[in-house]
C-alpha cells in the first residue's frame, strides 16, 4: 500500500496511542472533580496544556480544546461574528478555504453578514494591496488558511498579521490545520488559530483553537467550565495528553523531515513535468508536502480509482468537500476551468519513501497512457 493522502489524515503514531491508553487506564477521574482522582487528572491536564502552550509559544490559558479543526473554525468565525456584531458585520476571506470555513461564512451571510474575497496572485498568495483596499471600519474578521489544503499554497501570515495589527477592531483568524507539525509559523500577530491532531499523527476527535488573551467569543457549546468557559464538556483528558505527545513528536527533527519531503517533492515535480497533458497546479509558494496537478481531459476520480487498483491512495479535492463541482481553489489560482475539473492531490510525509514515489510515478504514467488510449 502506498499512502499519498497525508493531508486528509495521518496514521496515528504508536507512542501517541500508548499515551492515550495509559491515560485512560491510570487517570479515570474527571479533571473537574474535587476528589483525589479528579485532582490528579487535573494536574496531568495542566501539564499537557503547558507542554502544548510551550510548543506553540503561547500561554496555557490561550488554548481551547475542541473536537478538531472544523469545530475550531466554526467557534472562531461564528464566535467572533456574534460577539462583535455591534462593531460591524463585514468579514474577509479567500477562495482557498476549507468547507469548515466556507460553511459558517455562508451561515453568517444568511444572517446578514457580508463576506468579501481577497484576490489571489498568480502564485496563489493573496494580493496584500487588495486586502488593504477591502478593509473597512466595519470589518470584524479576516479568516484564511496558512496553507491551503488542496494546493498547499502558504500565505505570508506574519506579513498579513502585521498589517492587520493596524486595524485593532478587526481580528485575524488563521486555519493552521495544514501547517502545524509540518512548517512552523509565528502566532505573534494572529488572534485565533485552528488545528487538529489527526493531521500530525495524533488521534481523530481532538483539536484546538488558540485564542489570544483579551479576545471574547460567543461559545458554540454552552455548559459552564470545562477546560475553559469557551467550550463546555467534560475535558477529554486522554485525547488532550495524546495531543501533547503528537505535537511534541511532530516537531521533533522537523528540519530533517522537511529536507526529506522537499527532496521527494523535487523528484515528483521533475517526473510529472515530463508527462504530456499534465499541469502542476501547486505553485512555488506551496509547501513540499502537498502537490496538486491536473491531467487534461481526464476525470480525477477515474485516475484516482485506477491508482487505487495498485493500492496507491491519492485525493480528489479535499476529503471534506463533496459533489462533482470543479475545484474552486484550483480555479481561483489557475483561472483555468479544465485544470479545475481534473485536479488530483498527492500529499506526502516524512514516512514516504523514494521507492514509494518511484512506484507512484511509474504507475501514474502507465495509467494515464492506458486511459488516453481508451
Amino acid at each position: 500500500m502506498i499512502y499519498l493522502d497525508y493531508s486528509a489524515t495521518t496514521p496515528v503514531n504508536q507512542e501517541v496511542i500508548e499515551s492515550y491508553v495509559k491515560t485512560c487506564q491510570n487517570f479515570i477521574g474527571n479533571p473537574n472533580s474535587l476528589h483525589k482522582l479528579g485532582i490528579e487528572a487535573n494536574k496531568l491536564m495542566k501539564e499537557a496544556t503547558e507542554q502544548i502552550a510551550k510548543l506553540l509559544n503561547i500561554k496555557p490559558t490561550e488554548i481551547i480544546y475542541t473536537s478538531g479543526a472544523s469545530e475550531s473554525n466554526n467557534t472562531a468565525i461564528k464566535g467572533i461574528a456574534m460577539k462583535y456584531q455591534n462593531r460591524g458585520k463585514h468579514i474577509i476571506t479567500t477562495e482557498l478555504e476549507h468547507s469548515s470555513v466556507v460553511a459558517p461564512l455562508q451561515y453568517l451571510t444568511n444572517l446578514g453578514y457580508e463576506v468579501d474575497f481577497v484576490r489571489l496572485k498568480e502564485d496563489g498568495q493573496i494580493d496584500i494591496e487588495h486586502l488593504k483596499s477591502l478593509l473597512r471600519e466595519d470589518t470584524i474578521l479576516v479568516t484564511m488558511a496558512s496553507v491551503s489544503s488542496e494546493l498547499g499554497i502558504m500565505q505570508p501570515i506574519e506579513e498579513i498579521g502585521a498589517i492587520l495589527k493596524e486595524y485593532p477592531k478587526c481580528f485575524f483568524h488563521v486555519d493552521m490545520t495544514q501547517n502545524l507539525g509540518k512548517v512552523p509559523i509565528s502566532l505573534e500577530n494572529i488572534d485565533l488559530a485552528s488545528f487538529s491532531a489527526h493531521k500530525f499523527y495524533g488521534m481523530k476527535g481532538i483539536g484546538g483553537l488558540v485564542k489570544k488573551e483579551g479576545i471574547l467569543l460567543e461559545p458554540l457549546i454552552h455548559g459552564g467550565k470545562s477546560t475553559t468557559i469557551w467550550r463546555s464538556g467534560t475535558p477529554a483528558l486522554p485525547l488532550i495528553v495524546s495531543l501533547a505527545k503528537a505535537l511534541r513528536l511532530s516537531l521533533t527533527d522537523l528540519l530533517e523531515k522537511q529536507e526529506h519531503i522537499l527532496k521527494l517533492n523535487t523528484y515528483i515535480r521533475k517526473e510529472l513535468e515530463q508527462i504530456s497533458g499534465l499541469h502542476i497546479n501547486s505553485s512555488e509558494k506551496a509547501i513540499p508536502h502537498i502537490l496538486n496537478f491536473s491531467v487534461l481531459g481526464m476525470k480525477p476520480e477515474t485516475l484516482q480509482h485506477a491508482l487505487e487498483v495498485h493500492e496507491i491512495y491519492v485525493s480528489t479535492q479535499t476529503a471534506c468537500a463533496k459533489g462533482t463541482n470543479p475545484s474552486t481553489a484550483v480555479m481561483a489560482v489557475t483561472r483555468n476551468k479544465e485544470y479545475a475539473k481534473s485536479s488530483l492531490r498527492i500529499s506526502i510525509s516524512h514516512l514516504t519513501t523514494l521507492e514509494e514515489i518511484t512506484t507512484f510515478v511509474n504507475v501514474l504514467k502507465e495509467e494515464i497512457e492506458k486511459l488516453t488510449l481508451k
Partner: protein
C-alpha cells in the same frame, strides 16, 4: 420566479451570494426562492444538480432556463433579461 440552489459547503455559492443580493435589489419585482442542496433536499425537486450554484428561471411553475456556476453580475442580469422577454 427564480430559484437559487446552493450548498453551505460550496465556496462558489458563497462567492455568488453577494452577486445575487445585488441583482435582487435591482429586480425586486421577481420572486426569488432559496434552496440548500442538502438541508432543503433540493435534488428531490430538481434534476441535474451536479454543479453548483444553480439559478433556475421558472414561468408558470415550469423551468425555462438555468444559469450554472460562478458568474459576474452583468451575466446574471443578461440571463434574467433574456428570460423576461
Amino acid at each position: 420566479m427564480i430559484i437559487e440552489i446552493s450548498a453551505i459547503w460550496c465556496n462558489s455559492c458563497l462567492v455568488m451570494k453577494k452577486v445575487w443580493k445585488s441583482v435582487k435589489e435591482e429586480y425586486q419585482n421577481i420572486k426569488w426562492k432559496s434552496l440548500d442542496l442538502d438541508f432543503d433536499e433540493a435534488e428531490s425537486k430538481y434534476q441535474n444538480l451536479e454543479k453548483l450554484p444553480v439559478l433556475i428561471f421558472e414561468k408558470n411553475g415550469k423551468e425555462v432556463s438555468r444559469l450554472v456556476g460562478e458568474k459576474k453580475k452583468e451575466e446574471v442580469i443578461k440571463w434574467i433579461e433574456q428570460n423576461l422577454v
